[in-house]
């Protein structure tokens, strides 16, 4: 017998989409500028701003760990949700496979990030 009313899992994905959208809206541009342009091109910031000892200390810190995890995981969930829902707009009638591919890759990325952060230690 199938239950007639089933709890939807949509709010979970929507909340992750919203949280990731907000985090990337607030910090995304500056993060890209720092890690992708300022450090590689030697602009504005001291050259050793992201040196190994500094980044190791940052990711060993409880708050730093949380920030790195939130940025990577929530960015991935935000993008996965948005891409999944845009498939329909470009004529791909998304089914379970597309859902698995989108949310699945976000899940894999989340697990890898968690594993790397745990292996860095506290």
């Amino acid at each position: 017998m199938k239950p007639t009313l089933k709890r939807s899992n949509a709010p979970i994905f929507w909340a992750l989409f919203g949280a990731g959208g907000m985090l990337s809206a607030l910090f995304g541009p500056m993060l890209v500028f720092i890690t992708g342009l300022a450090i590689p091109l030697g602009l504005l910031l001291p050259a050793d701003a992201l040196s190994y000892p500094k980044m190791l200390a940052f990711t060993q810190n409880f708050i730093g760990k949380g920030f790195v995890f939130a940025v990577i995981a929530l960015f991935l969930w935000h993008a996965a949700h948005r891409i999944f829902h845009s498939l329909h707009d470009i004529g791909i009638h998304a089914g379970t496979g597309a859902k698995l591919a989108c949310y699945g890759s976000a899940m894999v990325g989340t697990v890898i990030a968690a594993y790397a952060l745990l292996s860095i230690g506290f």
Partner: protein, 132 residues
């Protein structure tokens, strides 16, 4: 399946016919840059967990012109995402009532953009402070 093939209006390129939908597709498309940048950071995090040589290798790989071009494009795309995120916000959040009046859309968008600017400057200042 019926042997008859009813006419189905083709929808290819529907969004190219209206600037409103072109904008919609561009702001939805920023998700690809958000995902790609998260993937770059994820690789960096894994390299960090593998030790100093791996981390320095990752930092060095970011100096390649392809990565710099990618990050320039990502900066544009994600900045545009920030703008549209707060532009749409008055319609995605519940109405805010202040003193009996509904808060106008421009106030919500403006506050969001101001907070985003402050967050970005704060992050830069934090990294600056960490570097010294």
């Amino acid at each position: 399946m019926s042997k008859r093939r009813p006419y189905v209006r083709p929808m290819d390129g529907w969004w190219r016919k209206n600037p409103y939908f072109v904008e919609y597709m561009i702001h939805e498309g920023t998700a690809f840059f958000v995902a790609a940048y998260a993937a770059v950071l994820l690789v960096g995090l894994v390299r960090l967990s593998q030790g100093e040589a791996a981390w320095n290798g990752w930092l060095h790989s970011l100096t390649s012109p392809w990565y710099v071009l990618f990050h320039l494009a990502a900066l544009l795309a994600i900045t545009y995402h920030t703008y549209t995120w707060f532009k749409i916000m008055p319609r995605t959040m519940p109405p805010v009532v202040v003193g009996g009046e509904r808060l106008p859309a421009w106030a919500i968008t403006g506050t969001g953009l101001a907070v985003a600017a402050a967050a970005g400057i704060g992050l830069l200042a934090f990294v600056w402070g960490m570097a010294r």
